[in-house]
Amino acid sequence: MPPDWSPLWLSLRYAGLATLLAILVALPLGWLLERRRFTGSNLLNAAVNLPLVLPPAVLVYYLLARLGLWPLHFNWHTATGVSAIYTLPLLLRLTWPGLAAVDHSFENAARGLGAGEWRIFWRITLPLAWRALFGAVLAGFARAFVDFFATALVAANTAYGAGSVWLILLVAAASMAALYVGSWVWRGQAPA
């Protein structure tokens, strides 16, 4: 009997797609958080990192599905989306220092030479940070590939038992607050 390769294929497919989705968000977000200071940047940082401290069941099922924020049909598209959300903080954590390590004097030199921000990002920042970004993508892919929960969602195709949405909301809010404070402590500025 030939071996059944479909689980491997499924995992590769959804991990690859999830990583792609996550890096498409992480790259501009990392650049934005690293290069610009704007109102709400710490809040955004905290929100992106929320999956780090909330179990997938809590975030996905209770917050998104039961509050109706995301109509959840348990199939592999959903699994990819969930996996992307969970890969994002890791990717952001890894791309951010990579972008930060690019010496600003290169970018400023390019500005003085008449280059716009978009061209600077593609021609200067990205090529100079590619090692860090490549490492981030690999780590993100590995994270998505071994992720059990997304697979479980697809495989089990079942809803979790009932729980108090409000209690979960409270936990989520507390986690968010902790991340928010952590974010501005880490970046060395007061909450904005």
């Binding site: 010496d103 004097s105 290169f106 400023n108 030199a109 390019a110 500005r111 003085g112 030479l113 008449g114 280059a115 716009g116 061209r119 021609r123 200067i124 090529p127 100079l128």
Partner: protein
């Protein structure tokens, strides 16, 4: 031609500069780089106005703030900032985006020849010699035909041979073009080598401006003199003025000196006196009575410079004498008493502190 009035992060300056090199001279933290960054558009000043060739590139009052790419100010950063992932050729090509292909190649070829970079062209910046890196940096800054060249701390950290090469390159640019250049400098040598004018900066303010020779010869005050590294600064009181003999009598902390007549000063005025170390005369004390303007002083330290011997005496007096005039004392001779002579025409008086 650039006119700038800027206030940002503790810096508050107003100046204008025409073609040739204008040096911003000051210690670390005086605001040199911040001024360059504000003109380039990397930093937005709280108030002020920057006009470049009759075009307003920044005006806080009318909220004009052109992005750096529209200001046409090429910036040579402290560590050159040649893009490490591109060849020298591609570095030169970078500012020319948007030009027709033929024109791009014509300009790159011309610049490579002008700065003798033909051999370095296909290589990455880390594969070429430091001198070629310097030339490539300047070539890249000039290739887009900027209206202003901003140069941050050029000679900082360069060895002597490279420094000479660097001065040569900038002199070439200065003499061949009418481009205004602003150059942040931390040592007087750079100002003298290159600059037509200099702005003496301290704590974000301009203390003095003018040609380097004039600034160094006539510092406006004791702060300016200290920043310029002028040694032998002594507070003194005018105890006598004799217009007839064209002399003055100055009392220092421990001794009195005869100096030139000081027009516009009154008896009892407190002034700052300065003497170039090279113009003091010094000889070991042989026991004779000191004559006019000679002061007995104890030698604390003697150190050699490339072309002289620097003698540091008690009381903060520093003299530099030719090496042949300095006869090293025998080891067993503990006579450290010297006679230091202050020639009247070497004494200069700064404005009162």
């Amino acid at each position: 031609m650039i006119q700038a009035r800027l206030a940002a992060h503790g810096v508050d300056v107003e100046f204008q500069a025409g073609s040739g090199i204008t040096a911003l001279f000051g210690a670390a933290g005086a605001g040199k780089t911040l001024i360059l960054d504000a003109i380039a558009g990397f930093v937005t000043p709280a108030s002020g106005r920057v006009i470049l060739d009759d075009k307003i590139v920044f005006d806080a009052a009318s909220r004009v703030n052109l992005p750096p790419r529209s200001r046409h100010c090429a910036y040579v950063a402290r560590h050159w900032a040649l893009f490490p992932h591109m060849s020298v050729h591609d570095n030169l090509l970078f500012p020319l985006a948007g030009l027709p292909r033929l024109e791009r190649h014509r300009r790159v070829k011309e610049m490579l020849e002008r700065f003798t970079l033909q051999e370095a062209a296909p290589r990455r910046p880390h594969e070429v010699s430091p001198a070629e890196r310097l030339r490539a940096t300047v070539a890249r800054a000039l290739i887009g035909e900027p209206k202003l060249l901003l140069v941050d701390e050029p000679a900082a950290g360069l060895d002597i041979a490279l420094r000479a090469e660097w001065y040569k390159i900038l002199r070439l640019v200065r003499d061949e073009t009418s481009l205004p250049m602003l150059l942040a400098a931390r040592d007087p040598e750079t100002c003298f080598e290159l600059a037509r004018n200099m702005l003496l900066l301290d704590g974000g303010r301009i203390l003095q401006s003018g040609p380097p020779r004039k600034v160094f010869d006539q510092p406006v005050g004791v702060e300016a003199a200290r920043l310029l590294g002028i040694r032998n600064l002594f507070p003194a009181e005018i105890v006598a003025l004799d217009p007839g003999r064209n002399t003055s009598r100055l009392r220092l902390e421990n001794f009195e000196l005869t100096g030139p007549y000081l027009p516009g000063r009154l008896r009892g005025d407190r002034v700052w006196l300065c003497v170039e170390p090279g113009r003091l005369l010094a000889a070991p004390h042989d026991g004779a009575k000191p004559s006019m303007n000679q002061v007995a002083a104890r030698l604390e330290r003697a150190s050699e410079t490339p072309d002289a011997v620097r003698l540091e005496f008690a009381g903060g007096i520093v003299a530099e004498i030719a090496r042949r005039d300095f006869e090293p004392q025998p080891k067993d001779n503990d006579n450290k008493e010297w006679l230091v002579e202050f020639p009247p025409n070497a004494l200069r008086v700064l404005g009162c502190p």
